[in-house]
């Protein structure tokens, strides 16, 4: 069981797509670091939806780290918060 960390930098959708690709290689937990993310768009929510679904299929835990409170609120409103640890 291992842990992989990815920093969400630059274009968020692109970073999330990379995370989705990385999911295939992770065995255990994937940590997504949101330290520099200040705003989230609908397209990023769609990508996160995909990550959550794929992680579920692969029994991989995906943790979100350093999520800004306004983004956390968006994740709560879209029911995505509970799908990540």
């Amino acid at each position: 069981m291992g842990q992989a960390r990815l920093k969400m930098e630059g274009d968020l959708v692109h970073a999330l797509r990379s995370a989705l690709d990385n999911l295939e290689k992770v065995d255990g937990e994937l940590v997504l670091d949101f330290t520099t993310v200040r705003r989230i768009e609908p397209s990023a929510l769609n990508a996160m939806e995909e990550i959550a679904a794929r992680a579920g299929e692969r029994h991989v835990r995906v943790a979100l780290e350093a999520v800004d409170v306004s983004i956390y609120r968006v994740l709560k409103l879209t029911k995505l918060a509970s799908r990540f640890t």
């Binding site: 989230i40 768009e41 609908p42 929510l45 306004s70 609120r73 968006v74 409103l77 879209t78």
Partner: protein, 871 residues
Amino acid sequence: MAEKVSCLSQERAGYLEGVVSQARNAAAVFTQYTQQDVDRIVKPMVLAGLAQAQHLARLAIEETRIGVLEDKIIKNMVATEFVYNYVRDKPTVGVIAEFPERGITEIADPIGVIFSITPITNPTSTVLFKCIMAIKTRNAAIFGPHPKAWRCCREAVRIMYEAAIANGAPEGVFTCLEEPTIEDNVYLMHHKDVRLIDATGGRGAVKAAYSSGKPALGVGPGNTPVYLEKTADVAMAVVDIITSKTFDNGTICASEQTVVIDGEIYDRVLEEFAVLGAHICKDGEANLLARALVDPQTGYAQPMAVGQKATDIARAVGLKVKPDTKLLIAPIAGVGREYPLSVEKLFPVLAVYRAKSADEALRVCIDVNHAGGLGHTAVVFSRNEDVIRKFGEVIDAGRVIVNSPGSIGALGGVYNDMVPTFSFGCGTGGGNSTTDNVNVYHYLNIKRVARRTQAHMWYRVPNQIYFNRNAVENLRQFPSRSTLIVTTPVLEQMGHVDIVRRWMAPQTVARVLAIPDAEPELKVVMQGVEALKLHEADQIVALGGGSVIDAAKIMKLMYEAPEADLAELAAPFLDIRKRVVRFPDGKANRVRLIAAPTTSGTGSEVTPFAVLTDKSSGRKITLADYSLSPDVAIVDPQFVMSMPKGLTADTGIDCLTHALEAGVSIYASPYTDSNAMQAIRLVFRYLPAAFERPDDEEARSMMHNAACIAAMAFSNASVGVNHALAHAFGARFGVAHGRANALMLPHVIAFNASVPTKFMPSPNQRAYVAHKKYALTAELLGLGGETIEEKVANLIAAVEGLLDRLAFPSSIAGLGISRDEFERAMPDLTRNAFDDPSWRSNPRMPLVSELAELFWSAYEGRGRTKIARAS
């Protein structure tokens, strides 16, 4: 998923789920936007709507075959330009208002996904309006247009959406349903992710919205009555009505339906209508219109006529009219199903009624209002403000439009300063939750951040207090033509009245009213008032104990304000600043009250309290108001030198109780604390001497001062549970007030110093401090102790020692009251103690069971008190 089982196909349900999911995400993302972000999006949307106003109007006409192109263009422009003018500077994101003086901040929060139903009559303008509102408030909107107007609405949504997205709005913020159905509406109205339904449409849609169980803004049909009153400017009224009723061929639900005209001007009004292009129907013609245009089964107007031209309607029903006819006017003789044209007609047919009187006119307008138009809109033309006001009062309408066109007037912002809207709240009369012109504030959750406030406190005492021996000489300073000296026969016999007379200002005519030395009765008070009137007194000198001074206070009140209702003034209150009953301001007479106490305990000479008994009703009346406080206090120890020992002890402990209770009161302040602490110090130092050596002038003098100082403390901080217990116990067993206080005092200190079962809500105290203040008192008295608990214990021991020294009985049992008798009395004692207002300022809220424990503790007696879990 929708919460209600739906009969939609799986494919359609999947489509709707996608629409909602997209809107939900957009709404969630939108919560991150700032006011600047939002305003940057709104303006280009408005400009896009304005640029496409004619295009959208043409589409609407082509699709719906309803209305007038030019008017629909104007509607689209009002829906963009006028609405923008209203919202442009309105804060709708984050902090929208601050009230520093109240400690309140209002924060606007979006609602989320709004399902928005739009009507066939105003399709594109309503969409434009609602898109602007949604973006301005950071909401996502799903549009469910009327099935016969969905294409033009889809285009309106597209124009708004593209402008919004181009300027940064979240994707999916608007969706217009393709080929919408009623089933779609039902599905979405019950969808868990739809937060608000904004239904502008027909009866069915509005009813469904309100029946969904979701928060809804439902705005449906009206039936606008117009009162054309005889003082009106007839020429203006006729033009306004034609303008309004023909605007977009009468499709706005606020447009005029029945005009009730005063008989005096009826013919002139109809002539004016005819001159300006209206066709006035003869009896047979009106019947023809009624039969053709109103469904006899439902009583509603036929949909096929909605938004059609007057000439087309005339042709369709076989009525011959001039080719330039704008409006068909049908006289009616009443309102209701027998008079079909009295219903809402969203086309240029107007009913008129000749009223024989103003009363009849108002009655008919009310009838029209109640025939399908409750809560919506009404119009009055009049120059008489009384008529306008009366009309506004009796008509149930969210909008009463005065001397202007109903439809355009109701839209707001054109003929008046109402909020521009395309959605009319119809209040409860129309089954709606608001009477407002629906606007951005209905698309927001407004949160109030309420900071803890500290209520203003006060410190009020008479502005002149003279003390020390011969303070009575200061009476000379107060000129008076006629003074009433209120006292007791005993004090008169003792020569105290002569001393007072001696020091009255020259030329003062002084009369004496000797009253019984007991809690004053209403009868006695009224005798005093009669005496004041008889002698036209301008001054009262109250010379006596608390009872005499209380009586004088109430005499003053009733003399100055004869209309005062004592029973009402005695109404209970929780906070003197918010009390229901106010003491009278207007004074018929003015009289100065000078109080010279002859006991050292109640402190009535400086307090705003007075108690009297109404023997006829058996009621005790307790009054509290700063207007009762004497104007001058004379605290002269020569009047207390002959107090008996028992009275010295009782009143002295009453004084100590006042100070101890004020010290820990939830209304205690640094001002009252200084009084309370000093009074406690004086009592411990001088009461034993005053008791044991009655001739000790210094002790007498200091105790007299202590009583007054303690009273200044409790006049402003009030007392506590000790007084509640003592009042109940004293009344039941006929025990003097000071003595009853003494029996309770050590037990109450222990009770207040313990961790409360229930705290008193008190914004003035940031923490529970009663035990600390008792400890501080112990320190002041030099009682020793290391911990707070030890200090409080030492204070209790000191109080008990004082009570022993003053020869107070150590327990209620010691008064000869049997355990059985006390047990039987307990329900009444606890009930009366709990009803007593004194404990409302106690630091610890007593439970009824705790009051019983305190009574039993006092029954068992001193030396057993212990602090339960000192806080």
